[in-house]
């Protein structure tokens, strides 16, 4: 392991939850507005997972009043409080970019059967 990897490892969180592609998640993210601090919950589908040690992110997509919104969350950011996985999706790709072109019923993801 080289120095750079060791340095990244030091700054990494240890309790990052698994967020499979296609899963429905609730991301609790701390918002700082001036002096005030509050937690915002962003609920949507995980469409991208970038695995890059300390720089790992997930992209969560939701459709809010007809407009698709995607947000990128750095997984090791201290602002990220927690991630709840509410539903696992049955998907065959690792990047769900195709969802961007789909609307309504077609943009649904089947639930993954749990064994």
């Amino acid at each position: 392991m080289n120095v750079l990897e060791m340095y990244e490892k030091e700054h990494m969180k240890r309790d990052i939850p698994e967020t499979p592609i296609g899963a429905n998640v609730k991301v609790h993210y701390r918002i700082i507005e001036g002096e005030k601090e509050r937690i915002q919950i962003f609920e949507g589908v995980v469409i991208v997972r970038k695995r890059a040690a300390l720089r790992s992110t997930i992209t969560v997509r939701k459709v809010s009043s007809g407009i698709g919104i995607e947000r990128v969350f750095p997984l090791h950011s201290p602002r990220l409080e927690k991630i709840e996985v509410t539903r696992l999706g049955k998907v065959r790709k690792s990047k769900l970019y195709y969802l961007r072109a789909l609307k309504g019923r077609k943009a649904r993801i089947k639930e993954k059967d749990q064994f």
Partner: protein, 267 residues
Amino acid sequence: MSNTILGKKLGMTQIFDQIGNAIPVTLIQAGPCTVLQVKSTEKDGYNAIQLGFDDKKEKRTNKPDKGHLAKSGSNPKRYIRETRVTDPGLYEPGQVITAGTFKTGDFIDVTGTSKGKGFAGVMKRHGFSGFKATHGTHESKRGGGSLGPSADPARVFKGKKMPGQMGNETVTVQNLTVVDVREAQNLIAVKGPVPGAKNGLLIISFAKKKPIPDRPIQTEKPEAVESQEQDDTPVTVADTQPVEPVEENTQVEDKAQEETEEKSKSE
């Protein structure tokens, strides 16, 4: 104090500050640099110290270099560079200058050799717009256009931007902030990018356009280096032991504790 140290670019990553902002950082292995020679006005006409950085094999060292290194008792070094100092009396050959020269929050200038791009055209080298891809453009899509007026100057003005070698030149980035210093690992993290590729030689100095911090020189005598290395081993063993309260410690223990903390952080 020495305001310059030699280093090596290790690569870039990001770290988060307390409120969660991601800061892009470049990790640099800064030092340890051995003082190989001290030059003074009386003897050499100017004040400077010669620094050696990065060990190399002895069989790769030629005889003249071996003779030069023997004067300071140093092992063979890959890079040897000189830096001007105000008071050469503070230095002696064999001293080791470490990354501890810099502290978090300092401003530094970093000099390196930029990545070579070869013979580049004006679009890449100077950001010219080129020509339209369609609508009748022929022969010249990435050209630079006219070189200037015709009969009146009857020449091309000096400094006209033209194609040529791009990169592989000395570049200095000024006023970078030091975000993190690991003295034990000779590691510093600076905010933002620095010139050159990974493993490239960097010359790191205090920012020319900011006041230089007034601190004593951070050096270790040649003997102290060995004891330092011996110290390092028990520190790793002591990792698991609880850290004692600070007020009970003497200064020496303080330092050891700092190292312990750093080590335990790095685990």
